[in-house]
């Protein structure tokens, strides 16, 4: 087990600081917020212990909660479905483009930009025609005025506009992960396969895909967890409005805690979010360990 051949004490010295920080900054707050979820508390005055009432309200009486959970899950699934696309793109780039690095960097730029900037940028694109919205401008100049919409204020389409921006932003991120993963595969295998007659897509099917699974898994987990926690983009672009039409779990949590001053209730939502994240991470890991066993 002790492959490093260093005494346990040294390991402890190196691990402890991080472990302590992690426990103090992650585990303790999670436990505290679980406890706060059991309180009726406005964040200022003294709190009252009400047991699981917040959770009951959340599950049975809150008209905003389940729709926002649904939107969050749709968001998460959409961002997972994006990853095979990224992988395909990465394979194509790797095969057909000679100096793909610069292209990948370009795809990566939206990830470097702050979400606030991205949000403002897309807001001006989505703006209504009267405020000079670019997308509507383009549609009208193409002779498709009936396609023009108030993208961010029509409750039926606003959320999809947000999904799109987020998928657009993180496309480059996952592309980069997959691309680097593929580049790190040893070229000898491909050369050997070529001699055996496996070339092109056949090589991808039998070599790239099985070997890339661990990288693929990382991307999927990151995408999934990231989108469950989606907050900033929604806050910048719509603030959860119009009338909760674009609320996701985390914005609902924020609004409940800080605007409605129901801090305890907000903490209950946060607890729910943590548990959902944990459950899905375990599920994803299980699925992938099965896949890895199969292809291995």
């Amino acid at each position: 087990m002790n492959v490093l051949k260093v005494p346990g004490r040294t390991i402890a010295v190196f691990v402890l600081p991080c472990l302590l920080l992690y426990v103090c900054l992650v585990f303790v707050p999670i436990l505290v917020s679980f406890y706060t979820g059991l309180l009726s508390w406005d964040g200022i005055a003294s709190a009252k212990f009400i047991g699981l009432d917040n959770f009951k309200n959340m599950f049975y009486h809150d008209p905003v909660f389940w729709p926002s959970v649904r939107r969050t899950l749709v968001y998460a699934v959409a961002s997972m479905l994006e990853i095979p696309l990224c992988l395909l793109m990465a394979i194509l780039l790797n095969r057909y483009v000679r100096r793909a690095n610069s292209l990948v960097s370009i795809y990566f730029t939206p990830v470097i930009l702050s979400v606030v900037i991205i949000g403002q940028l897309w807001k001006t694109i989505y703006n209504p025609t009267s405020m000079g919205g670019m997308l509507n401008g383009v549609l009208i100049s193409l002779g498709l005025p009936s396609w023009a919409h108030n993208w961010l204020t029509e409750p039926n389409i606003a959320m999809f506009c947000l999904y799109f921006v987020s998928l657009w932003q993180y496309f480059g991120y996952h592309l980069l992960i997959q691309f680097t993963g593929i580049q790190n595969l040893p070229s000898e295998i491909y050369e050997a396969a070529k001699i055996d007659g496996a070339d092109g897509f056949k090589a991808d099917r039998y070599i790239t895909l099985p070997l890339i699974v661990p990288i693929f898994k990382i991307s999927v987990v990151l995408a999934f967890i990231g989108s469950l926690q989606a907050f900033d983009l929604v806050m910048v672009m719509t603030g959860g409005g119009p009338a909760h039409a674009t609320d996701v779990i985390s914005t609902h949590m924020y609004n409940s805690s800080f605007l409605s001053m129901k801090y305890g209730y907000g903490s209950a939502i946060a607890t729910f979010l943590v548990i959902v994240c944990l459950i899905f991470t375990v599920i994803i890991n299980l699925i992938f360990s099965r896949i890895e066993k199969k292809v291995g």
């Binding site: 406005d42 200022i44 108030n150 119009p242 039409a245 001053m261």
Partner: protein, 448 residues
């Protein structure tokens, strides 16, 4: 051979760096609390030559506004007259300040002077005993008598005053005279039917009738409350609801929602209003693209400084179906200066606040910001060089017969949030007014 000692030194170095950085974190936190406790001891004895630092959290970040200038001159003058006092300004914009104060309140670390909003919004802070009663402050130097009659009631609980307002505004309809002329509107509307007809006339000319920035949902609510004030035949609807005398399914409330939807259906508001924030919404009017703007009189100065200056007039919100009185207004008592009950230098802070609020109206008058002051001030607007609009608006103040406070100043925050998003929803889809009323009632009962 060199490798082994190298690795050892490296590992020792790394471990050292780690512990150091940890220690740095620890000592950082410690030194913070250290200064706090030293402050406490210096505040304990009241020697006047002791250095005292008063933290003044405020919401006037924009250097181009008159209030910013007023604040800074008053602070400088006070520091010059009292060399031992240093006033540290913690300047934030309104929303950030609200958020920061809530976080500070949760850990009982309210700054010496902070800003709270009237009535229901400041009640949680008062209930938590975070604010100091200011009765002795207003009794000193006749400060109490400078405030308009009844204004301090909005900041009083159980006979104690807990905050001193920076102003007292009403909500009026500003209109662009040029755009009204273009649409062939002769006189300002006094009934809702006329108002709606004007909206349609403006719309027909391709002019946005009403400017609004409904992404900040208080703007729509502030407008809606005018209509409720009319359909209810006078002030007091929300108070009656709180007292259990009325419910939200009252015909007055339903009618207000219906009339509000009439405005939306007539296309009174800009496209995509719910994605426009309050500032951008105001700019639609101030840049001459919209004909009317229903907003508090605190905007008078800003309108005079904009490109539509000189073209703007103001009128009272019209009556609805013969109900309501033109001289009932939506009242907006300003944000209030409050003192932390746990302030380390309570007396010094109170002395400063007394000086500040006594001189505030005079400085505001000099800085051309006397419209919407909550305090009486000597001086004549006309000879003070104020604009016609400012004088017209000041004239409306003389007509005030009564009025209501904004929804979120009357109801608790949780109910107010449901109300705000319910009104926001009216901007994007036609809704059964009964359902709106039910939503309100349910939220009110759930959060009583």
């Amino acid at each position: 051979m060199v490798q082994k000692p190298l690795r050892k030194t490296l590992s020792i170095l790394m471990a050292g760096a780690l512990t150091l950085s940890l220690a740095a974190c620890g000592s950082g936190a410690k030194s913070d609390s250290g200064t706090d406790s030293s402050n406490a001891s210096s505040g304990g004895d009241k020697a006047s030559d002791k250095k005292v630092t008063i933290t003044f959290q405020n919401i006037y970040p924009d250097p181009t506004t008159p209030t910013y200038k007023t604040l800074h001159t008053l602070v400088e003058e006070y520091e010059k007259a009292n060399p031992n006092i240093h006033i540290e300004l913690d300047t934030l914009n309104t929303d950030q300040q609200k958020m920061k104060l809530k976080t500070q309140a949760a850990s009982k670390e309210v700054p010496d002077i902070t800003i709270v909003n009237p009535s229901a919004q400041m009640k949680p802070f008062v209930d938590a005993k975070l604010l100091a009663p200011l009765n002795d402050v207003i009794d000193k130097n006749g400060l109490k008598d400078t405030y308009q009659a009844g204004l301090l009631d909005n900041y009083s609980f159980d006979g104690n005053v807990y905050a001193l307002p920076d102003g007292n505004n009403i909500e009026v309809v500003y209109y662009n005279k040029d755009l009204f002329k273009q649409a062939g509107i002769e006189k300002v509307p006094t009934t809702f039917d006329e108002f709606l007809a004007d909206v349609k006339a403006l719309k027909a000319k391709g002019i946005t009738p009403l400017a609004i920035g409904e992404k900040d949902s208080w703007t729509g609510s502030f407008l809606f409350m005018n209509m409720l004030l009319r359909t209810n035949g006078g002030p007091g609807f929300l108070k009656d609801v709180v007292d259990g005398k009325k419910k939200f399914d009252d015909p007055a409330f339903i009618e207000a929602v219906d009339r509000f939807q009439d405005l939306v259906q007539a296309g009174a508001f800009p496209d995509g209003a719910t994605s426009i924030d309050a500032n951008a919404g105001g700019n639609i009017f101030k840049s001459g693209k919209a004909a009317m703007w229903v907003i508090g009189t605190w905007e008078t100065g800003a309108i005079d400084a904009s490109s539509v200056a000189g073209k703007v007039g103001a009128f009272q919100f019209p009556t609805i179906n013969g109900k309501g009185n033109l001289n009932d207004f939506m009242l907006a008592p300003g944000s209030g200066f409050a003192i932390s009950a746990n302030s380390e230098h309570l007396q010094e802070t109170k002395d400063f606040l007394n000086y500040f609020t006594l001189n505030f109206p005079k400085k505001q008058f000099e800085n051309k910001n006397a419209v919407g002051l909550g305090q009486k001030v000597e001086g004549d607007l006309k000879s003070g060089g104020y604009s016609d609009l400012a004088i017209e608006v000041a004239g409306l103040f003389n007509n005030i017969k009564g009025g209501d406070l904004a929804f979120d100043n009357t109801m608790n925050p949780a109910t107010a949030q449901v109300h705000l998003s319910s009104i926001q929803n009216l901007f994007v889809q036609k809704t059964d007014s009964k359902q709106v009323a039910e939503e309100h009632q349910a939220a009110f009962e759930a959060n009583k």
